[in-house]
Subunit: 186 residues, 2 copies
């Protein structure tokens, strides 16, 4: 099984991880799949993703291109209607592809999870030009989560930098996503 | 003809413009296709793209995902073997899709070119996760061209910022592209 066929490339691929709680509640949050010689991800304790992985030992990597979904899943909860279930695992309806993984905690590093692919599906292939606006939303979302956690003003400067790129290069989904980020920050 | 089907979305899409000189020499350079109510692009005078458009009134927008190709075409000339010809227009071999346009200069704004789609082809659809490394190469390339034109040190700081993202998140193509950028800057 080649992860590249499912859109996961060498380096870090930004995907939305979906996991199921012990009680059967789906959760979604952006993560980076690190694909070097081995596949792994850094998942911080005190997150639903981390506790769900602890409970079920599984996650699904959803390859998604909508910037608004990165914002919504990073900084809030997705509506249950956004998910469906495959083999008792939650998958996002809007995913272009997904891969399910068996998760194994690193023995030394508490945030590092080793990922072993179980299976995957390709649902939609497309042609897509690079969009600086979409990319700026991903960066602005990362800096927003850091700002909310650490309250360091330097993150606000980064957010403003990426907001300028969104204003100049973004389409309507990116502008809506940026508006949502601003509402969360204020 | 819907440009979205060819990967060109609302907002600005980063593509590689290919044009033919009066003498039949192909040229490639990154541009942003601005897709709002109308389709246009900003193309600076003193570029091959600008003089070729003046000569032939046409350009081809190539939708490409390889970060190295953005660097090579922004800061040097592509090898002739990278092109083939369709209707006397150059197209990139590695394009996932391309759209040819009739070009019309704006009457007031010397850098603004209005674009009227002629025809397009989809050659390869794929699934692709968002890559912060690829995106960082696009930004670093933009700041490198600005630095080379204006020699303002602030651009070097931006390049260093994006280089950090490439080191952390990039795959081998991104790392090779960043190395090429560094060679050009030094």
């Amino acid at each position: 099984m080649k992860l590249r066929d499912f859109g996961i490339q060498d380096g870090i691929s930004e995907v939305i991880a979906t996991t199921m709680s012990k009680e059967g509640m789906p959760n979604a949050a952006p993560i980076g799949i690190i694909s070097d010689k081995k596949i792994c991800a850094r998942i911080y304790p005190d997150t639903h993703t981390h506790s769900n992985i602890h409970a079920t030992k599984k996650l699904v990597a959803n390859v998604v291109s909508d910037p608004l979904l990165f914002v919504s899943s990073a900084l809030g909860d997705l509506d249950e209607r956004e998910f469906y279930t495959v083999d008792e695992l939650p998958v996002l309806r809007c995913a272009d592809a997904w891969v399910s993984f068996e998760c194994e905690k690193d023995k030394q590093d508490n945030t590092l999870i080793h990922l072993h692919p179980i299976k995957g599906r390709i649902l939609r292939k497309r042609v897509q030009a690079i969009s600086r606006g979409t990319n700026a939303i991903i960066e602005a979302t990362i800096h927003t989560t850091r700002y909310l956690a650490m309250k360091d003003e330097k993150y606000l400067e980064w957010i403003a930098h990426y907001e300028d790129i969104v204003k100049k290069c973004g389409g309507c989904r990116e502008k809506e996503a940026m508006k949502k980020l601003r509402e969360i920050i204020q």
